[in-house]
Symmetry: C2
Subunit: 384 residues, 2 copies
């Protein structure tokens, strides 16, 4: 199929920041793109060829949208997967597939998938309801502390909590969940694997993540990770094994822990462009967004190595501020070397909401990391 | 003014490929952007916040559009400059200014400006009509060969012709023009100078251009130019002197000849993002498009040096093809290392029409140049 000059139509489910950054590339390749999204104020409202309002969890909305396009992808996992399956049966190319998404959508199913496929992951127990956990603790079937995770998909770090005492359970929703062994780790790492419809595979360099202790959100993504070569190879190997097991088309972002003993355990995966790959826009030969488009359209994959070192800082809403957003000191950070702010275009801020990110690139990665800290200490996402 | 979170509005006159690439950056910074453009099928139709149809040469269309925005810029020189002047008087920030544009719009005026400001340029004569040239030749006031240039702005290399005999004059339009001494040159070079409203100045590295002999269009842009350091410094110095003379805000692309004697002569300038800077998207720390936005909004300018070596190939319509465009072998070039096609989105091709460009980047500039030749020999812009 000639994507560049025909009646080809690409559909994207979700119109948030990831979709917006995908659209830079559909625009660059002049690929006709339709977006289905529930918010009329979403970042993808412009730059797509056709914007359609609709509920991504609604079968009919997704099905009817999908019938109008040739290839369908998504920028968020919270979509109606039954509709995707129906569309696949009727010949629409859905990438990643409904099968991949169904496995990933539920964290308990995702964890079981790792076990079934001999992929390393932290030990866990599965519960139909959070209320069942206390009994398991009392009967000695579960020891404190552990990581509670909501099985249904959470966002921006909600849906995950470290439980240190029975008291910590009180505020949690009574939902399907898992209790995962708390693994002391040296580093959180991630590898993005790209795989095209024809099976071509390329991995991005291993990145290192530093999390905000309270918000459970990434503060810095550092590419490449400052870890020994042997650990990087191990992480890449695990990511490739996960990619092979899922047999996905598109990107698979594999988040991992490097334990105190230098084991690599999979934390979770996302079958789409990912926060841990935003620095690829400025640092890599091919951005993760362009690569996702190449992969799902079965175009040749681009180079995944870095041109220069890259560090990414998330711009999240400061605590204590809600309302019309203001990016305090943004002009100050633009004075710094190799700094590019990305403003997603959400008009309202609230504490810890992802409002944008800043990429810092430099031929010297340590210098990029130094500037990133200046960025982090300067810019503040507040309200009017 | 807080561009990132207020009611600020940026206006762009012209909705072609340069505007489209500017919009990647207004989107990235979430800056509200309105576009005035005469074609309903222009590349900027989507991705701006407000698209308005109108004739860029019409006083009222430009004036009424400009009244709705805070800062007004243009991606093409063919706009009504009287309207810009009126808007400036009424407080709209027009960058580059009507004065800069008025000087540049007419090639005769532009050449006189170089003479008045002691800027090096090839000797020339000015004629009110092409029909006056033959008499000048007959009377010994002008010798063959020379370069005929239409004084009013041309596009895509039309409006320029090498005149070797009186016969060559026959097919030329009878318009205001200049006859410029044909300077044998070693290289065509260009430097893009960025200057912000507050006067901050940064220059991009000198690039080297290779032209298609027939179409008079750039075939390869090579960054940085493979010339001795002393020549590069000389070219940068001339470009900075031109920038100072124009006192422009925004980008000034300065095209120059390096003569056989290693003199640097200004060929012409453009007060906007320029074909000789397209490789900056992938090769530079800051793309020329982002830099133009930074400059006209008086934001700090970004780094202008290269991350890696960059070569740009224009995608122009092949001879003998007109109609619905097809990019033959585009998938083949996407297999090559460091190759990014940019498809502007014009639906109809015709011989020599600028339909897109391809950037090739590599840590080794010679390797990028080698791949660029493969790209040039593979892809072909034809019709259905």
């Amino acid at each position: 199929m000639n994507y560049f000059s025909s009646n080809f139509k690409l559909g994207i489910l979700g119109g948030g920041q990831l979709g917006k950054m995908l659209l830079y590339n559909t625009r660059k390749f002049d690929i006709y793109t339709a977006v289905l999204e529930s918010s009329d104020e979403a970042p993808c409202k412009i730059a797509c060829d056709h914007f359609q309002l609709g509920d991504l969890m609604d079968y009919d909305a997704v099905y009817n949208f999908g019938k109008q396009v040739d290839v369908l992808t998504f920028e968020i996992e919270n979509v109606n997967v039954d509709a995707l399956e129906a569309l696949e049966k009727e010949g629409v190319k859905v990438y990643p597939s409904s099968k991949t998404l169904r496995t990933i959508q539920n964290k308990a199913t995702q964890k079981l998938f790792y076990v079934d496929n001999n992929l390393p992951t932290a030990p866990f127990s599965r519960f139909a309801y959070t209320s069942e956990i206390e009994e398991a603790i009392n009967h000695g079937g579960l020891s404190l502390p552990f990581v509670w995770k909501c099985a249904q998909f959470g966002y921006d770090g909600t849906g995950v909590k470290i439980v240190k005492s029975v008291d910590d359970l009180k505020d949690l929703p009574n939902v399907e969940c898992i209790a995962e062994t708390l693994v002391p780790f040296k580093n959180e790492l991630a590898v993005i694997v790209s795989r095209s419809a024809s099976g071509e595979i390329k991995t991005y360099p291993v990145v290192e993540m530093e999390f905000h202790p309270e918000a459970n959100q990434v503060e810095y993504v550092i590419c490449p990770a400052r870890i020994p070569e042997a650990i990087a190879e191990k992480a890449e190997d695990v990511a490739l094994r996960a990619s092979k097991a899922f047999n996905h088309v598109g990107l698979l972002a594999v988040e991992m822990f490097q334990t105190q003993d230098d084991d690599i355990l999979i934390n979770e995966v996302a079958p789409r462009p990912h926060n841990s790959g935003h620095q690829t826009i400025e640092a890599s030969y091919t951005s993760q967004f362009e690569q996702h488009i190449r992969a799902i359209l079965n175009l040749p994959l681009g180079r995944t190595d870095n041109k220069v070192g890259g560090v990414m800082v998330n711009l999240v809403g400061a605590e204590g501020y809600s309302g019309n957003v203001v990016y305090e000191n943004i002009e100050n950070i633009m004075k710094m070397d190799g700094v590019t702010p990305h403003i997603y275009g959400k008009k309202q801020t609230r504490p810890f909401r992802k409002m944008g990110h800043v990429t810092i690139v430099n031929e010297d990665l340590n210098e990029a990391r130094r500037v990133a800290e200046q960025v982090k200490n300067s810019i503040k996402v507040i309200s009017e």
